[in-house]
Amino acid sequence: MNILTCKDLTKKYGRKTALDGANLTIESGHIVGLLGPNGSGKTTLIKLANGLLTPDNGSVEVCGMRPGRETHALVSYLPERAVLPLWMTAAQTVDFYADFYTDFSREAAQEMLAHLQIDPKQRIRQMSKGTREKVQLIMVMSRRAKLYLLDEPIGGVDPATRDYILNTIISHYNPEAAVLISTHLIADVEKILDDVLLIRQGQVVMQAPVDRIREEQGMSVDALFREVFKC
């Protein structure tokens, strides 16, 4: 089943074209890496998929529906920057998410917070940047969504936390859901991906399974990326 479908998807900011007729589909059960240089349209694509932006041309559909109230219930979104209210404690963010989303599992969230030894009484304000990002990811992954949109989930964290985040994504693997991860830390995520989507200047230049790239090119996706996007 197709979880995300984009056809000729186009988005302009004034005279600047951020997405320029992008075509792609993501099937259920797949973990897909959205890879591209800075300013290639990764965040724009993610924001269109969750309805934060509207297309100027073409279409985007989540489980066959245009982004809107119904799809918000199906999409779990990790923004590029943590957006949790600073005055809340970790426990309050759990309540907050549980109130908003019926597919949210308190147990899953509490278990992950405990595993990372995050004090439920600690306020977001008092947390380091890395801990805030962990809390945000825990909230996002504790939902039983159909589509997870993770915008740079491993950008600002140390390597041990990075491993934990990637492991969390694997352990929450659900054959009925799809995960889209945007990043430029390709070497780190490569092993957990089914497919990669390479985008450049708002266009999809390649969508292929990681192992097919390795098989056919005899190099990692990271190496291919460096070659394709050589400055």
Binding site: H30, I170, Y173, K191, I192, R212, G218
Partner: protein
């Protein structure tokens, strides 16, 4: 079990190789149940579909087998495991030969070096070292 991956080969092929090595070394004991796909994927830090694909391949090679409800098991067939070990050894030997070749060390010298190293390992030449 320690997992590591190189950049030039498909991940599923590397998983197959490493699980075979695990069977050979006893990290995955023969005749015993394997962890679930998800647990193995988490342990190796890889995509569960990729792990599934590797296990399906090992199954078609007769090294593991599925039991409808109980999960996947390592074969107890000693002959099959012996065959697999020799094939793994073959790969390492080919790599050794290629490395010697790239150093312009011929067959005779390579075998002599290998023999000397084995002697050192078993302590046969404690007194002649260096």
């Amino acid at each position: 079990m320690k997992w590591s991956f190189s950049n030039d080969l498909p991940i599923y092929a590397q998983l197959i190789e490493q699980i075979k090595t695990g069977v050979a070394t006893g990290a995955f004991p023969r005749g015993e149940r394997l962890p679930s796909v998800r647990d193995l994927a988490m342990e190796a830090g890889v995509n569960p579909n990729t792990m599934q694909r590797a296990l399906a391949q090992l199954e078609s090679e007769g090294l593991v087998y599925s039991q409808r409800t109980a999960g996947r098991f390592v074969t107890g067939d000693e002959e099959r495991i012996g065959e697999m070990k020799r094939s793994l050894a073959h790969g390492h030997i080919r790599a050794f030969m290629a490395a010697m070749n790239s150093l312009s060390i011929d067959r005779e010298e390579a075998l002599a070096l290998l023999e000397a190293e084995y002697r050192k390992e078993t302590g046969e030449d404690e007194h002649s070292d260096m």
